[in-house]
């Protein structure tokens, strides 16, 4: 009897499995795209149709985002007759869950807004449409965009899936008054100069640097930046090799740790700080520099004690221990940071989706989006206009132009986690006095194994 029941249950599961398989749809787009350049947003008739967009909830401007949703839908309806419905996600986890269920069921949002560093993972799923010449023409052409923002749209130009929508390159903010008082007239362009300047700035409860050691993302950005400036991309995709337990990266970690334990240019409480708390310390006038901030920090800083007393500058582009970049080093100003838009393969409204992206990345909309939310335009014309009109943002736009994409591999998620993990596990030793070379080497070997294993699985 029990056996018969078990067989019945298995049969039931098989039926459910087949039903789910039936729902999963095919790889091919549900509708064909228009011929190259033949479609523009204005010419498409989307009457009675709805384009669904999944986008990150904006924690800083929730009300403005709601208003923006309405405005976009109204404008798109006027242009095409179709409405736009937005759905927000609070975290990458929510987004991934949505992508998973949509991919499996073959239905869900037509357009997803993705973080740039999540784009390789999205690409790896194979669930998003590749942008050929025709599709690029539908969103206004590749020339419409700031060239560097296209650097993480795909593994190469023939396999791009993502259209840059918003740019949030990283820079450092500095306190003009504190720098002047310390006699610093030239901004540092190497990490060693930054450390020296930070030492000059550290006095009493004011520290040279504000660093979020406990942030879940900042540490890997520092390490990746210093490493690639020294010629190490962390993942060598050509050879299929992870390169974490190597000298340039070890030096990067040592520099990052030394700020706390040896140079003593950061607040002792920084071991518990995330990026927001580092920015808050700078906003209180307690730090000379706060590296790894985007233009959105302006919202906080303009209402703080340092309003009118701060400016942005490029982070150093010369790796620690050097005065110029080595031959294979790249003077990366930042990772390519911001949001990309991708269209689902299963979407039945691909032409409309591309028309919407075309509208959202137009000069007019990108300028207005920048004014409302602070994110920089990916549209070249809008970016140029801002650069000439806003002195404060000039370095941020320079950073955008000099930004380099993190390795375009599905293994990057694991790799950035492994890079951050080295810092997380080292914090107790750091507080106790410093991380020894042998401990650091062992931690780097662990991270190396994790990244290599992930890279070996990459397809």
């Amino acid at each position: 009897m029990k056996a018969r029941n078990a067989m019945g249950a298995l049969a039931g599961i098989a039926v459910v499995g087949l039903a789910l398989a039936g729902c999963s749809g095919s790889d091919s787009p549900a509708s064909s795209s228009s011929p190259a350049g033949s479609a523009t947003a204005a010419k498409i008739d989307g009457t009675g149709k709805t384009v669904h967009v999944m986008i990150a909830a904006n924690g800083l401007y929730p009300e403005q985002q709601k208003t923006w949703f309405g405005e976009v839908s109204d404008k798109f309806k006027a242009e095409t007759g179709a409405t736009v419905e937005f759905e927000t996600f609070a975290s990458a986890n929510d987004e991934l869950t949505k992508i998973q269920t949509s991919v499996l069921s073959g239905q869900g949002p037509d357009v997803y807004s993705l973080g740039t560093t999540f784009t390789p993972t999205a690409y790896a799923t194979g669930a998003f449409m590749t942008l050929g010449d025709a599709e690029w023409a539908q969103v206004g052409g590749r020339d419409k965009f700031v060239p560097s923002t296209l650097g993480i749209s795909g593994p190469d130009e023939k396999n791009e899936i993502a259209v840059p929508f918003a740019s949030r390159p990283f820079v450092m903010a500095y306190n003009k008054d504190l720098l002047a008082a310390a006699g610093i007239t030239d901004l540092p362009t190497t990490w060693d100069e930054l450390t020296d300047d930070a030492k000059k700035l550290t006095t009493g409860d004011v520290h040279g640097l504000a660093i979020g050691y406990a942030d879940g993302f900042d540490p890997w950005k520092f390490i990746w930046g210093m490493s690639i400036q020294a010629g190490n991309p962390i993942l060598n995709l050509e050879d299929g090799k992870a390169q974490i337990d190597v000298d340039p990266t070890q030096t990067a970690y040592q520099t990052y740790f030394d700020w706390y334990s040896k140079d003593k240019v950061v607040d002792p409480a920084a071991l518990g700080w995330k990026n927001a708390q580092a920015v808050a310390a700078f906003a209180d006038g307690k730090a000379g520099f706060v590296p790894m901030v985007s233009a959105t920090s302006r919202v906080t800083l303009d209402k703080s004690a340092v309003a009118g007393k701060y400016a942005y500058a490029l982070m150093p582009t010369v790796p620690p221990g050097m005065t110029t970049n080595p031959g294979d080093g790249k003077p990366a100003t930042s990772i390519i940071s911001g949001d990309n838009m991708v269209v689902a393969k299963y979407s039945k409204n691909q032409d409309l989706a591309l028309a919407l992206i075309n509208m959202l990345t137009s000069t007019e909309n990108q300028t207005s989006y920048n004014k409302t939310f602070g994110d920089l335009p990916t549209n070249q014309e809008a970016a140029t206009a801002i650069q000439t009109g806003d002195e404060l943002l000039k370095p941020v736009l320079e950073s955008s132009a000099g930004a380099i994409g993190t390795p375009f591999s599905g293994a990057w998620g694991d790799t950035q986690l492994a890079l951050t993990n080295v810092v997380v596990q080292a914090l107790p030793a750091l507080q106790a006095g410093g991380v020894s070379e042998s401990d650091l080497k062992a931690a780097l070997q662990t991270a190396q194994s994790t990244a290599q294993a992930s890279l070996d699985k990459a397809k």
Partner: protein, 285 residues
Amino acid sequence: MLAPSGFLMFFVILVPLALAFYISVIDLDQYTIQHWLKAPFVGLQNYVEAINDTSLLHAVRLSVSQALLVSLITMPIGIAAALATQNAFRGRAVVRSVFLVPYILPAFVVATVWRTMMHPQGLLDHVVGSVGIDVGLWLNGPTSFWSLVLVQSWSSWPFYYLLVLAGLQSVDKEVHEASALDGALWWTKLRYVVLPYLRGSILLALVISFLHNVNAFTLPYVLFGVPAPHDVEVLPVLTYVTSFQSFRFGLSAAMAVVSLALVVVPLFLYLRAVRLDSGEDRVRR
């Protein structure tokens, strides 16, 4: 009459369970998710990898020890609180309400507040520093495990309180009167009269508390973030990271199945306790 419950059990429990088992034996990741039915079958490889190449066993040890400690620490606190508020006194309703605050606060709120207090040079550092103690980092290193136990205990002790309070309602009034007439002191009355009545409630609370704490995700996730410090990389957090940051869905399903095995014994005890408490059994007795 069995049909509705059988239907529910099939779709709500058996199907997801079967899928979890199935996913745990295939190589499902970001590269294969689009064609998940075609994902390579790898047998027990995910289980072998989980045990040999990840910190699964370490996470299991942490989860079990943390859950046991919290369940045992909160037991006397909950019992004491329930006994203290059993008899009517002025302001009892307020006290009873206040006791429930830690339990009704969302876990992410609890974790955020404690995280703020546990920052380096934060409130807790000042408090213990005022008596000359330096504990180092609260949220990383060996102390972080005890921080987790502390915060988890703070947020979950009212669960015992609630169940024991409910259990106290079953103590007959006559029993109290009889023990008073016999001149029993409060300890004697508690030990030999009240606690025997509460044994079922307390054991049930112990089992549920253990299950709850073993599976707690939000609190350690918000309190320590990811990647989690080694000393607080509990099983739910490890499973989450494997699934949603490493995108190894097959491997994380294997971990989830292991965690299921971990809770099966107390779950069995719980189900048995519930069954023994049913009216049907009372009739049989």
